[in-house]
Every structure is written in structure tokens, then in C-alpha cells.
Amino acid sequence: MTLLRRYLPLLATSALLVIGYLICAFQWNGFTSFRVVGNLLTDNAFLGITAVGMTFAIISGGIDLSVGSVVAFTTVMVATLIEWHGVHPLFAFALALTVGAAFGAMMGAIIHYLEMPPFIVTLGGMFLMRGVSFLITTESIGISHEFYATVSDVALRIGKGKLSLVAMLMMAVVGIGALLLHFTRFGANVYALGGSPGSAKLMGVPAAWTTIRVYMLSGALAALAGIVFSLYTSAGNSLNCVGLELDAIAAVVIGGTLLTGGYGFMLGSFIGVLIQGLIQTYINFDGTLSSWWTKIIIGLLVFIFILLQRIITGAGAQGNQGRRF
């Protein structure tokens, strides 16, 4: 791959975001205000955090379908701990993160040691977590702890707009995720594993430990997204985030990451999240368009970007078709 080819998907995604933003900015006067941008970041904070974990899973050649259920479970768990058992939110958060990480690690271990496709293992995880949260309660539990009120007031005021704590948290997670993926040995192992598991093993990449850590990270980040979601809505509900995994996968794909693994950028996933948020904001501003257009346009974008990937990697893929699927 030449340098241009290497960065082409990322450039295409960035161009799409800039063009989309310009179209919106020309159509509506208020669109360029920092308030709109700040809201876009806050509204999509939980999706952004989930997408970081999903990026690791996909680059390692896997997938994590359980994230939506883990988010829902975390909101329910945090809400019940705080409201029913009088636990301090910070302690509940720590507990939720531990459970998320342990659950992810378990799935990673099953994927590696049973040698089963990640999507069916995480599918089981999706059923399990959704089922457990349904068993705890099927009702929405409002959280009225003073800690929640304090946290939602924390924001960095810039002009008329503000950058909320959850938005800052999301950007920090993306930043740390990018460092972890692009500049550490663990990140390099993830790429190696996704590029070719066989060669990775021959090179001495610890496959078991890397796989377990990837899903542990994805599970922990999904739990963090759940905490953010509970801060965002001040409630826990077992029906939260049905289909979040699809949005996260779409963000990663639109961000230019190869779904076969081994190639992608953290920044791309972040831009993918922003593009989804932009489409949603456009539809809100327009007022006449219905929300189902979001799904259709995102489906279309995913299609275009997968097609783009086929064209870029196509020449190489024709030679070894037997391996592709």
C-alpha cells in the first residue's frame, strides 16, 4: 500500500464530515455555534466510548455484539445499587467497570480457547446480559442521588456553548484508545492478530492474552458507556440501547477500519461517530424529515465504505479468495 492508499479511507471519512458540516452550516445560521457542537458530543458520548472498544475488537479480526446489552445491564446495575441499596455512585461505578471487564474477559477466553467465531460467542453474551438485566427489573429506575446532579452541572463553558463532563470523558477515552492502539506493544499485537492470526502466532504474539485483553477492554468500555448513559438520562432501564452494537459497528466501518481486521484508525471511528451525530442533528434541525432516514443513510454509508474498502484492497484479495471467507 502506498501512503495515499493507506490513508485514503480516513481521508474520505474526514472529507465527508467536513462536507456534511459545511452543508449544514450553509443551510442553518445557528449550526456553527459551539452549543450545537457541544450537544452533538454530549449526545453521542456513550456511542463514542463503545466505538473505541469496538475498534479494538474489529481490528483484532473479531466483533463484539454484546455491547448494547452490557450498556443496558450497567445502567440497571448502577441504578439499583444506588437507589435500592444506598451504595455511593463512585463505588457502584467501580463495581460496574469490574463486572464489564470480567464479562468481556470471559468471552475473550471462550473465543480463544474454544476457537469459535467471535460473533456467535458475543451473541450469547448479548442474550445473557439482556436477560440478566430483564431479571433484575423491567421497569425504569430513576436515579436521584445528589452526586448525579453535581456531575451533570460540571461543564467547560466556551462562549455560549458548553462542553459537558461526559463529552470530555469521551474525547479522553478516544485519545487514550488511540495511544493504546497506535503506540504500544499491545496495539501492535492487536493489528498483527487481525492481519493474520497464523503469522502472528509464528511471530510470537501472545494470541490468548491479546484476545482476552481486547474483549476485556471492549467490555469495560461498554460498562463505562453504560455509566455515561446513566449520567446522561439519570435512570437505569433494561431496554436501553437495543441495537447500539450496530451503531458502533457502523461508526467503525464508516471510520475506514477494515472489517476483516488488521487495518484501521482510532480517529476514523471517532469521525464515524461524529458523522452519525451530524446526520441526527441535521434531521432534528430540518424538522420535516423522519428519524428513519438516519437508519437508511447510515446503511447506505456503510455500504459505500465497504465498497471503497473492496476497491482499495480488491486487487490483493482476488489472488487468495479462498481465505477471505
Binding site: 436477560g131 437508511i296 447510515i298
Partner: protein, 335 residues
Amino acid sequence: MPENKARKGRPDWFRHLPQLTVLAVIALTINFISPGFFHVSIQNGRLFGSLIDVLYRGAPIILLALGMTMVIATGGIDLSVGAVIAIAGAAAAKLVELGFPAWQVIFLALVSGAACGLWNGFLVAGLRIQPFVATLILMVSGRGIAQMITEGRILTFTDPGMDMISKSSLMYVPMPIIIALGFLLLGLLIWKGTALGLMIAATGLNRVSAASSGVKTRLVTTLAYVWCGFCASAAGLIIVSDIRGADANNAGLWLEMDAILATVIGGTSLLGGRFWLPMSMVGALIIQAMNTGVLLSGLKPEFNYIVKALLVLIVLCAQSPALKQRLGKPAGGAA
């Protein structure tokens, strides 16, 4: 990988003994929890009873599993069947509203499902996109398309012709069961009556060598996806007719998971290859019997998810090549 166990003198049904045993055990357990499970009577000119209810409620899952089996046999997966149910249902409800006669509605809804399958087939076989990703596109946008058709409303209708699909009966047997059995026969005719099934299994096992031996792998793969979409739209018609309305958001939600699970329980490997349509039907019945069992036993319906998660885990262990090696059996368990 593909074992020739059946050829070594054992009858074919022998290898399916575990599934059949599981189904029998579940049925007996339910009968133990709520006696009278096997009691079947005739009311209002059709069979009536819990056992018939399992078959009746299971018909959409059976149809989906029949479709999914062929796709999984090619080594693929179709995640969009739930969305196809929504699309076909929405299209049917809209056409009824526009005043089309029932037979045209049914025909067009089935065509819409087959067209969705053709799209998936084009992406997988034509553009060589991974099946799981290719069908994800329709899974994401399909519900949007269905909502576009219904314009975001829940379309309800009363049409005696459409009621026929789920509420009539033939020889005392409720129509959805007849439809499911009809599709099973049709599937056996298409995929077992001709060489197509063999070609699909060959494609699923090793696409390159199948192509080298003259199998038109792109064509048979596409056909499998078209069949899957076709079956899904039939399931959609039954659901729409049953509730007399189309709900683009919730119709067929998560049924794709049930269909995959039913197929895998039926013994068709997720890695592709040999397939068993009647056993996929048994798999669907196992899932539906457990749904009914959870309800009859007075547990919360939410308990179903945990039961399904455990099922996935059991199936994973049963199919895992690594685990078989560790237990000292040769892969495939031919010993």
C-alpha cells in the same frame, strides 16, 4: 472436517438422536410442570392444545430456520432476516391498505423478500463482501425502509383474505403449520431433490475447490440468499396476518438470532458444509418449546434470554473443534 459418518452403516437419524432426545425431554418436562401439554382437542374446526400452540407459534421461526440453513451451508450468515420480516410485513400491510386483493399482496410481499435476498446475494457472491457484514447493511437500513413504507405508523387492517394465512385451517391443522410444512417440502425438493444442495455444501466447505470442479459458486450462493429472503417474507406474512397489522420497529426483532440458533442446534455447522433442513425445523421447535415451557412454568418471560444464552454456550462447546481435540476425540467425532 466433514465426516462421512452416515456412510459407515449407521442410519442417518442416529446422528440426530441428541436433538430429538432434547426435544422429547423438554416436552416431557413441560408436561410434568403443566400436565395436559400433550392433550389435543378439536375446537371451532381446528386442533387445539399446548402442543399445537408450540407448532403454531413456532411456524415463523421454522420458516426462518429453513432459509438460514441454506445460507449457513454456504459458509455464510444472514443477519437481515428480522429486517426482511419487517419489510415484507410493511409492504403487505401497505398493499392491503391500497386495496390490492390478498393473492396479489401475498405474491408481492414474497417477491419483496426474494428481492432483499437477491441484494444480499449480490453483495456476498458478486462483490465478495463477508456475509456477516454484507447482511448487516440490510439489518441496519431494513427497518428504516420498513418505516418508510408504513410512514412511521403501525398499519392495521382487516382483510378476510389476509386472515386466511394465520387464522384458517386445513384438515383441522392451523394454516401456519401447513405453510411451514409446505416450505419444508419445497426446500427438500429444491435442495435435496436436485444437485443444488450438494453444490451448496461443496461451496460451503471449500469455495475454491468447488469452483475448480465446475460448481457455479456465485450462482448457488446467490440462490441460497434469495431462498432465505423468500422464507423470511413468508414468516413476515404469517406474523402480519396474525396480529392484523405491521409494526416496522418490532416485527421480527431478534428473530434472526433464533433462526441462527435453530439451525446450529439442528446440526448444521456455522463453518458451512452439510445441512439438514428437517433438523433445523426440530431446532426451531426446541426453541419454541422452551419459550412456551418458560411461560407455562410461571417463570418470567425474561428468563428466556438466559435460557437462550445457555443454549448458545452448549452448542458452542458441542461444535468446538478445539474442545473435541482436548477431549481426545478426533475432530468430527467419528470414533
